[in-house]
């Protein structure tokens, strides 16, 4: 009961303090708002990048062409050896014989159809192939090299240049966004430390009297922590609205794809709600950490 009464007092005092130092509170709320908007954009961008990187990675296949003169035994042996490579997704290994490839190509166009029909099995330029997917896309070139060394393997293709560049570009974009988010959060924490510091100095006299009449340290500190959390909460209102409606509008405007059909955006629901939730939690946490820092630094009790 006593704890609840004291917490009630802390929340009341914190709200009073926010209203009493309104201009100052407004300043830090605006800073939190701006930071959180950028944080929200960074989160949404980073999740989207992650999403379509994964989509692309899912589709990424290594194609293995075998030598012309392979026997059926060779094919089974090569398949075994491919499956033994740790990075190879074993269930994804698919074999397509010359005949399969031929039929597939014939279905694709009439030109192929007529040309291919003239060749029989012995003089066909087509080769028996395996299609393989990997577990870790970043190691795809290593895996391809290992496959190439297997006996009777002719060539290995996986769209090297384009895929490598795309993956490294996305991973550096991701790193930059994380860096920006972390820097902004740190700046906001310092801003909140400053705001709470001013509240503390404005209430120095009151704190001194609280101390004299036997308030515990917990009682003295809690209102400031709660104040920081309230600043964080108030600062996250605009970013939450921005996140939900902004992303919805963005998604509708681009019809779910960014620039090309290749880059698919994440569906707004429930993505916007979880992002809004994360933004609120970051706001409150940042407010709490900032005020805790100020209390530790400036409240000598």
């Amino acid at each position: 009961m006593r704890i609840i009464r004291m917490l009630g007092r802390s929340i009341r005092d914190a709200f009073k303090s926010v209203i009493r130092n309104f201009s100052l509170s407004l300043a830090s709320i605006s800073c939190i708002t701006i930071t959180l908007i950028i944080v929200a954009i960074a989160i949404m961008a980073s999740f989207n990048v992650q999403n379509f990187t994964q989509e692309i990675e899912k589709d990424l296949t290594i194609v293995i062409f075998l030598n012309n003169e392979v026997t059926d035994e060779d094919i089974t042996r090569v398949e075994e050896e491919i499956k033994q490579i740790p990075n190879v997704d074993q269930d994804s290994v698919v074999f397509a014989s010359k005949q399969d490839v031929k039929e597939e190509m014939q279905q694709e166009s009439e030109v192929f159809d007529t040309v291919l029909d003239e060749w029989d099995d012995t003089e066909s330029p087509l080769k028996d192939t395996f299609q393989v997917k990997v577990k870790n896309v970043e190691k795809i070139s290593d895996t391809a090299e290992r496959i190439e060394k297997i006996n009777q393997v002719n060539t290995v293709r996986y769209g090297e240049g384009m895929v490598d560049q795309m993956i490294s570009a996305f991973s550096s974009i991701e790193k930059v966004t994380y860096g920006v988010v972390i820097a902004l959060v740190i700046v906001t924490v310092f801003l909140i430390i400053n705001t709470i510091k001013l509240t503390i100095s404005a209430r120095r006299r009151e704190i001194g009297i609280m101390r004299l009449v036997g308030a515990s340290n917990f009682t003295i500190k809690t209102p400031f922590i709660v104040e920081g959390m309230i600043l964080g909460l108030l600062g996250s209102i605009v970013p939450v609205i921005f996140t939900t409606y902004g992303y919805l509008a963005f998604y509708k405007h681009f019809d779910g794809y960014l620039f090309t059909q290749l880059i698919e955006l994440i569906e707004p629901e429930p993505f916007i709600y979880s992002t809004a939730g994360i933004v609120v939690i970051i706001g409150i946490l940042v407010g709490m950490v900032g005020s805790a820092g100020a209390v530790r630094k400036y409240l000598k009790i």
Binding site: R5, R205, E206, I209, M210, L212, N217, T219
Partner: protein, 232 residues
């Protein structure tokens, strides 16, 4: 029974000034004690050590069973809840009314509204300010403000009331009013009172226990004392 016991207490400040030399003292429960001495005699330091604003450099201080010198910063509130403190400059919160100022002392230790209301009104009645509960401190005279501070100090029913020059800012007439209030609290509540002062008139007219300090040394401890002029 002794409420306060000091054993070989010395206090040396960081700037090198020694305020108290090897002080031994025992104060009985329910007594009314004046601590007198000129400026720099160490009386304020003694009071400050009793409520653990300062720690003694050497020696032991026991207040109501608590070893004050060893009390950790985070546990000081346990001592403060056993005592009330009154200062020369009142230390009221200007934005709170008389009632709120006194209730503040109960709120911060988590008392319920009903208990707070009962105790606050009782304390304000004892200091004679029941008709001014809704006034703000700046609407009161110095003597009245000091009585609000006294009400705040006694509202939690402390065993001990420490007063550091409570009449220092008041004229002799107001000072005597404050003394009557304190004397009344001592008699009706049985609160032990220790009061630091340099007001000769008050000490002589009250006829209470007197501790005399000079340059940090205890020079006199009398059951029914008067002010000893330092020139004698």
């Amino acid at each position: 029974m002794d409420l306060i016991r000091l054993k070989n207490v010395s206090k040396k400040y960081k700037n090198g000034v020694t305020a108290i030399y090897d002080l031994n003292l025992a104060i009985e429960k329910g007594s009314f004690t004046f601590v007198i001495g000129g400026s720099g005699s160490g009386k304020s330091t003694l009071i400050k050590m009793l409520y653990r604003e300062e720690r003694p450099t050497k020696g032991q201080i026991i207040v109501g069973g608590l070893d004050v010198a060893k009390l950790r910063n985070t546990k000081v509130y346990k001592l403060r809840r056993k005592l009330g403190i009154v200062f020369q400059d009142y230390r009221l919160l200007p934005k709170l009314t008389v009632y709120e100022n006194v209730a503040f002392a109960m709120e911060v230790i988590g008392a319920t509204k009903e208990v707070t209301r009962r105790n606050v009104l009782r304390a304000l009645e004892e200091v004679g300010l029941k008709n001014k509960v809704h006034n703000y401190p700046d609407q009161l005279s110095g003597g009245e403000q000091q009585r609000v501070a006294i009400a705040r100090a006694i509202v939690n029913n402390p065993k001990l009331l420490l007063c550091d020059e409570p009449t220092g800012n008041l004229d002799p007439e107001r000072s005597m009013e404050i003394m009557k209030v304190l004397d009344n609290i001592n008699k009706t509540r049985g609160t032990t009172i220790i009061m630091a002062t340099h007001d000769k008139e008050i000490v002589n007219s009250m006829k209470k226990q007197v501790v005399t300090l000079k340059d940090g040394h205890l020079v006199n401890f009398k059951k029914k004392g008067t002010y000893i002029d330092e020139n004698n």
